[in-house]
């Protein structure tokens, strides 16, 4: 009672009652501890370059949402898979749009995670004590690339069949370790097994690894900016502000993907025909095409392994505490050469005529 009385006495000095949103926030905070998200992070974390990882995660969520819609209509039986994709495009409500959104979202995810890796590398954010988190990031990039590849196969047109045939050839190169890639393994068609990997196994792994990645970001805190000068500490902002900005950037991303899905719907070629090899892979995988020209299908395996081994080795090679890229010139030059080579190979492959790589010619 006395507390009530005190409350009445102080009421005149309070300007207004809390808004509905404020009451909702307080109510949720009481139950979910949301104010725990208001921990301080450095100001530089609110730049676009430092939001690329968050945007990658948002894109993954968008992929899951649109993927769930597509799974309602996609049939992973290779006898009818192509036809079911055609039906999604031509007959299902919003099917063409959702498929287009999923396609462009996959492209965006590849670009975003690539740029995120590059940003972390250039700013030296992988350095002690964050080496393990870099490794988890590389694993996430690998899972993303595998999600992209398996998604390419599911549409089951000529490009898909040829991608799967390359996958089988690479499985043979792995010897007994490549048993899973054999079409004779499991008793159900390889396409159906890849579908399960695409919609269940890889998203599950991504969710587990990204959870660890985020927990480590929270525990180890954001790395300091290598471009900051002066002895004074960097101003901070609450993490919730970063989340709000991420949400706004996500709106831009969704808008861009929406427009791309409508104006540039992804192609779906004719049903696959065995015995011919007439397509090139989509651009994120195009860089291995010339290597395959030069050294055969094994080139795909070795080139991909080389890139990922190099990424894994980064924190063990660049071990100085120095974060400024200007003082890590050899590493910057090496990374620049790798990126330029990949871009060069993509351009080279794009202007080259198609070539047969599996058992023909």
């Amino acid at each position: 009672m006395s507390e009530q009385g005190a409350s009445v006495e102080t009421t005149p000095s309070e300007p207004t009652a809390p808004s509905t949103w404020r009451r909702l926030w307080d109510s949720l905070d009481e139950r979910l501890g949301l104010k725990g998200l208001q921990y301080p992070i450095p100001e530089h974390a609110n730049k676009l370059a430092y939001s690329l990882g968050g945007l990658t995660l948002i894109t993954f969520v968008l992929m899951v949402a649109t993927g769930i819609y597509l799974t309602q209509f996609y049939n992973p039986d290779p006898a009818v898979a192509h036809e079911s994709v055609r039906r999604i495009i031509t007959s299902v409500s919003f099917g063409k749009f959702i498929r287009g959104f999923h396609y462009w979202g996959a492209m965006a995810m590849i670009v975003l995670i690539g740029l995120h890796l590059l940003r972390v590398f250039v700013s030296g954010s992988f350095k002690r004590p964050r080496e393990a988190n870099w490794l988890f990031g590389v694993v996430l990039a690998g899972i993303t690339a595998t999600l992209f590849f398996t998604g390419t196969v599911l549409k089951w047109d000529q490009e898909s069949l040829e991608a799967l045939e390359h996958n089988i050839e690479i499985g043979k190169l792995l010897g007994r370790f490549g048993f899973w890639f054999s079409p004779t393994f499991g008793g159900i068609p390889f396409l159906t097994r890849l579908y399960v990997v695409h919609i269940a196994v890889l998203p599950f792994l991504f969710t587990i690894v990204v959870s660890i990645h985020l927990l480590l970001v929270k525990r180890l805190k954001m790395a300091p900016s290598p471009f900051r000068k002066g002895p004074e500490p960097e101003p901070t902002r609450p993490f919730t502000k970063h989340l709000a900005e991420l949400g706004a950037l996500a709106l831009v991303l969704v808008g861009v993907l929406t427009i791309l899905a409508v104006l540039a719907p992804p192609p779906h070629g004719p049903a696959p025909i065995e015995g011919i090899e007439i397509t090139k892979p989509p651009w994120p995988m195009l860089w291995v095409y010339p290597i395959e020209d030069w050294v055969g299908v094994a080139g795909i395996l070795w080139a991909t392994l080389a890139i990922f081994i190099a990424l894994f080795l980064v924190p063990f090679v660049d071990r100085t505490p120095e974060r400024s890229p200007r003082r890590r010139l050899p590493m910057m030059i090496a990374a620049g050469v790798v990126v330029a080579t990949i871009i060069g190979l993509i351009v080279y492959a794009a202007v080259q005529p198609v070539a047969s790589h599996i058992g023909m010619g």
Binding site: N46, P78, A79, R86, K96, F97, W156, Q158, L161, L164, E165, P183, P189, F190, F227, R228, K229, E245, A248, L249, A250, L251, V252, V254, G255, V256, L257, T258, I259, A261, V262, L263, P265, P267, H268, G269, P270, A271, I273, E274, G275, I276, E277, I278, P290, R326, M332, A340, G344, L345, V347, Y348, V351, Q352, P353, V354, S356, G359, M360, G361
Partner: protein
């Protein structure tokens, strides 16, 4: 604009310049790639198939046909005609000249033993070496079920408007939050 931002941008510009120069190097090699005299006929046929199957809608039909005719001509003049049924390639050339690109495509696929329209269940069954040219394919039914129509194009102005609104709203919110 802070000194840090200036330094950052200078670095970005230099990096992009270096990456661009290195990227264009190998591409110029590809553009200079010439001389196809001794290319096996099977490669020329596959390239002609690729041109016909993958490029409709990307380039004008006449240009696609012309490019394919060049490749078919190369195949017919090739020194290495192993695994290719040249009679079918000749028929394909006639079909291309007559503007029947679908027929030409099927003939070219058949000329190297592929079976258009046959459902693919497991790639392991694929005849990875050029298959027997006397296989009983395609049947009329196979060819009739071929759906070579490229899927694309759209009329959803509402979705474009929604996308534009989302972009503007997002940019506005970013500006406001900062």
């Amino acid at each position: 604009m802070s000194e840090g931002t200036h330094v950052h941008r200078r670095w970005l510009a230099r990096s992009l310049a270096v990456v661009g120069a290195l990227a264009l190097g190998p591409a110029s090699v590809a553009l200079a790639h010439e001389g196809e005299e001794n290319v096996p006929a099977i490669t020329d046929v596959q390239e002609a198939i690729a041109i016909l199957a993958e490029h409709p809608g990307v380039f004008p039909p006449a240009e696609v046909a012309e490019h394919a005719i060049d490749k078919v001509g190369d195949a017919l003049e090739s020194n290495d005609t192993r695994g290719v049924l040249l009679d079918l390639v000749s028929e394909a050339k006639d079909a291309l000249v007559a503007g029947k690109t679908d027929d030409a495509l099927t003939l070219l696929e058949r000329s190297i033993g592929a079976c258009p329209g046959a459902p693919v269940i497991e790639p392991q069954d694929a005849p990875r070496a050029p298959p027997s040219l006397s296989s009983p394919c395609p049947s009329v039914a196979h060819i009739q079920v071929l759906d070579r129509t490229p899927v694309g194009g759209t009329e959803e102005p509402v979705l474009i408007a929604v996308g534009a609104v989302l972009i503007l709203a997002g940019l506005g919110l970013v500006r406001r939050i900062r």
